[in-house]
């Protein structure tokens, strides 16, 4: 493997030089671009926070992308190396450890046609029936590997067809995925409507997976299809974007091998004008987990992605209790108002003030027994499962988030951001356990930046979370000093409300940025927690040690 790789690199190097030589005589001889990142952590044991050391002392995740493109043709690959995988990334049985080129592709596009061979990412509509993506920070990469054709039938009508297997760490999942998607942009199709203030897009997707199993107990469907239809209507400042998805019988580990079909509905509406944005969203999901291996779990082999509609919190403390879509049944709603108080008013001040209010809530759905002898919970494998009415809302609260944010610029030098968040987090449902109960948390955040004349700045953050549940209350203080190309941070996250032992999680670090390159070094402690991005979450174990990250785009 190593030999082949070295050979490959040498060839690549030679190729580039020959291209360079060509460039002297002729333009448009193609280009190579790429990026790489390496994250390394040296682990130190700290029993007080439950952090462990590792036998290797240090673990390293790294990857590099290379893309060659020349007019209508482009190709690329990603080299990845996990020696060994950083703690907290999906790596059951060491499945993610190793080095290799799991991602390579070539693409040809001309006029109305685009053909991809090898690995690719794709999203149909909002992703309810198909979304293939990567999220390196989460260790998610469900890249497809196969063939894809995109074709523009007429102006405004786009078709996509694909057939592929899905990446499963260094291998492929057992299922074959076939997908078709069509979108029609009405205003593009009919020239007369091009300038209309009413805009209309419609689309539909069909995805089918094949997985054969000689299951001794159940008559399993080898082919499972899911389909969806979507519509986008925009009139002046109003916008409605909706998608409905249906999945045929798909017994799986996710739904405990029940044969009921699944459904999902997503509606986003908004109103926007200068200085004001209002968003209202709702969704309803029942039995919509869809994977290319029915026995897969956690972040593995998802074909679709059911988006959350709750706010994605980035400040450390509110991100302690993140929401994740419950594919086995969930109703959710969101209302968000974003407003800019105009300049030169009492509250707006010289620069105007941004305020936003966001409310979201998620519940279970109502499920009823199919007959007297079959309980809804625990799910009865090998049956239809349960009945449910479309868009029914259950009594059990999964999550609630009320948050309010004010960003104000006081002068050229002083910027500030104030937030208040109130969360109700159903710990049992969202962490897949029982007996813990809800967490109620009030969080206040003050974020101030002072800019000096010479482009340097001092940024401070104070966050406080009050809660009686889980690990109790926390307070966090952070100071960051930056000057062009450099930053230095110190922070301490103090779990002063912990009934067992009050713990400090401190960290110091600095970084250097130069163009497309960034180097970061820090030492500190990280608490055990849950990290969620894009509908999937992973447990992050507590750690203590030195962290180095280098990334560059070239």
């Amino acid at each position: 493997m190593k030999k082949i790789f070295t050979l490959f690199l040498n060839l690549a190097g030679l190729g580039i030089f020959s291209l360079l030589a060509q460039e002297n005589t002729e333009n448009n001889s193609g280009q190579i671009t790429g990026n790489f990142q390496t994250d390394a952590q040296y682990y130190i044991e700290d029993q007080s926070i439950g952090a462990t050391a590792v036998k290797e002392y240090m673990l390293v995740n790294s990857w590099a992308n290379f893309i060659y493109s020349n007019q209508n043709f482009s190709a690329g690959f990603r080299y990845e190396g996990y020696m060994n995988t950083l703690l907290g990334y999906p790596n059951s049985g060491g499945i993610n450890d190793g080095i290799g080129i799991p991602f390579r592709w070539a693409m040809f596009s001309k006029d109305d046609l685009e053909i991809t061979v090898g690995n690719f990412y794709e999203q149909f509509g909002n992703g309810l029936v198909l979304r293939s993506y990567e999220e390196k920070m989460l260790g998610v990469d469900n890249a497809l590997d196969g063939f894809r054709i995109k074709y523009q039938l007429f102006k405004g009508i786009n078709l996509t067809g694909l057939i592929a297997k899905q990446r499963y760490y260094w291998n492929h999942g057992p299922g074959i995925i076939r997908g078709f998607d069509g979108t029609i942009q009405i205003n593009e199709v009919f020239q007369s409507l091009e300038e209309s203030s009413l805009r209309l897009n419609i689309g539909g997707s069909f995805v089918s997976k094949f997985q054969h199993e000689g299951h001794p107990l159940y008559n399993l469907p080898d082919n499972v299809a899911a389909m969806s239809g979507r519509i986008m209507i925009r009139y002046k400042n109003f916008d409605i974007n909706s998608e409905y998805a249906y999945k045929f019988n798909d017994p799986s580990l996710d739904n405990s091998y029940i044969f009921k079909p699944g459904q999902a509905l997503l509606i986003n509406t908004s109103y926007a004008k200068k200085g004001l944005g209002i968003v209202l969203s709702t969704k309803w999901v029942d039995n919509m987990a869809f994977r290319s291996d029915r026995n897969a779990s956690l972040t593995d082999l998802n074909i679709n992605q059911l988006p959350e509609i709750t706010k994605n919190h980035i400040y450390v403390l509110p991100a302690f209790y993140p929401y994740a879509t419950q594919p086995n049944g969930e109703w959710g709603a969101k209302a968000e108002i974003m407003y800019k108080i105009p300049k030169n008013t009492l509250l707006g001040g010289k620069y105007g003030t941004n305020v936003s209010l966001n409310y979201s809530r998620a519940h279970d759905i109502k499920k009823t027994q199919i007959n007297d002898s079959t309980p809804v919970f625990p799910p009865a494998s090998g049956t239809y499962g349960y009945n449910t009415k479309f868009f029914s809302i259950g009594d059990k609260l999964y999550f609630q988030d009320i948050n309010f944010e004010i960003s104000k610029k006081w002068s050229k030098k002083i910027l500030s951001n104030f937030s208040y968040v109130y969360l109700i987090y159903n710990y049992d449902v969202l962490r897949g356990i029982t007996g813990h109960g809800n967490v109620y948390a009030h969080i206040g955040i003050v974020d101030m930046t002072y800019k000096f004349e010479n482009s340097s700045a001092l940024k401070t953050e104070i966050q406080h979370m009050f809660t009686k549940q889980d690990e109790g209350s926390w307070v966090l203080g952070m100071i960051e000093y930056s000057l062009p190309g450099w930053f230095f941070t110190v922070f301490d996250n103090w779990n002063y409300g912990n009934p067992e032992s009050k713990k400090h999680y401190y960290s110091i670090g600095f970084g250097h940025i130069s163009g497309g390159t960034r180097i970061q070094l820090s030492y500190g402690k990280q608490r055990a927690g849950v990290m969620c991005i894009g509908g999937v979450c992973r447990n992050v174990p507590a750690s203590n040690g030195v962290f180095v990250s280098i990334s560059s785009t070239f």
């Binding site: 790596n91 049985g93 060491g94 107990l217 399993l220 469907p221 019988n249 044969f259």
Partner: protein, 283 residues
């Protein structure tokens, strides 16, 4: 160009035409199978504090319902889910199900074992290779793959237990039934059925079950986690060739010997495939 357009559109519509199988009731089928005597080994990595692990135990029970003695499960308590609260037997989860072999294979607390960081429940069906770890819903299909094949070996176990010195003895005879030139190893464990103790079950309210029945619990190994190589791949074995081994261990204080079984299995050292397994009651 016209042909290309035609081909492209046919390809796209082909994706559309791919079928979907709609299953009508009954969803279940009779577990009918042809059997030539091959027995299937299952490692069930589990823990008494693991609230989803009873799902795997249920899968094993449904397999025993169909295949009866043809499946030989071994419950291996490991990882932080097997931690104990202390030695006070009035407290929940005081009982220590862990073994040296379980710690080595599955890991103890946060220290990973041979199989790396495990997310429980997870298991191995008739193959001990790292990359063959499977979630429990995949076990039935995996058992079905092996169950109807001919066993390459037959195993006879002659158990012996002496009350006087608490020594459990196992005389094992491995007989070749299909000529082959594999490198094989013999592993011998002792397991115990019907241990009544605490278990977490997220499908139950309350989740802590004081009188859960723990079955097929690994107690100890006679010859380590990987057993002993009894034949190398440099020589061929033919029908009727026999290998005999004798092992003994001392019974643990808390084992009920009347519920104990000896499990012996042979596996291919190169492919990790388990070729045959056998189980017999100690007394």
């Amino acid at each position: 160009m016209k042909y290309i357009k035609f081909a492209v559109i046919s390809f796209l519509l082909g994706m559309f035409a791919t079928s979907c199988d709609i299953i009508e009731e009954p969803y279940t089928k009779e577990g009918v199978f042809v059997w030539h005597g091959r027995k299937i080994l299952i490692y069930d990595f589990t823990g008494h504090k693991c609230g989803n692990c009873p799902r795997a135990h249920e899968t094993i029970n449904s397999l025993i319902n169909i295949y009866d003695e043809a499946v030989i499960p071994i419950a291996i308590h490991c990882t932080a889910f097997a931690r104990v609260t202390g030695s006070d037997s009035t407290q929940p989860y005081y009982y220590d199900f862990r073994t040296d072999i379980g710690d080595y294979l599955g890991g103890r607390m946060t220290e990973p074992g041979y199989y790396g960081e495990l997310t429980l429940p997870i298991g191995l069906v008739n193959n001990l290779a790292k990359e063959k770890l499977l979630s429990h819903t995949a076990w039935p299909t995996e058992v079905a793959k092996f169950i109807s094949s001919f066993p390459e070996y037959l195993i006879e176990i002659q158990p012996e237990y002496s009350n006087e010195n608490d020594i459990v003895k196992a005389d094992i005879k491995v007989k070749t039934s299909v000529t082959n030139s594999r490198k094989i190893a013999l592993t011998v464990f002792i397991i115990e059925e019907h241990i009544i103790n605490w278990q977490t079950d997220y499908n139950k309210t309350p989740k802590d079950i004081p009188n859960y029945e723990h079955n097929h619990v690994l107690r100890a190994g006679f010859n380590g986690a990987w057993g002993e190589v009894i034949k190398n791949n440099t020589n061929v074995t033919v029908l009727g060739d026999e290998y005999t081994k004798s092992y003994s261990i001392t019974k643990g204080n808390d084992w009920k010997i009347q519920n104990c079984f000896i499990v012996a299995f042979v596996y291919d050292v190169d492919t990790y495939e388990v070729l045959q397994a056998e189980m017999i009651k100690v007394q």
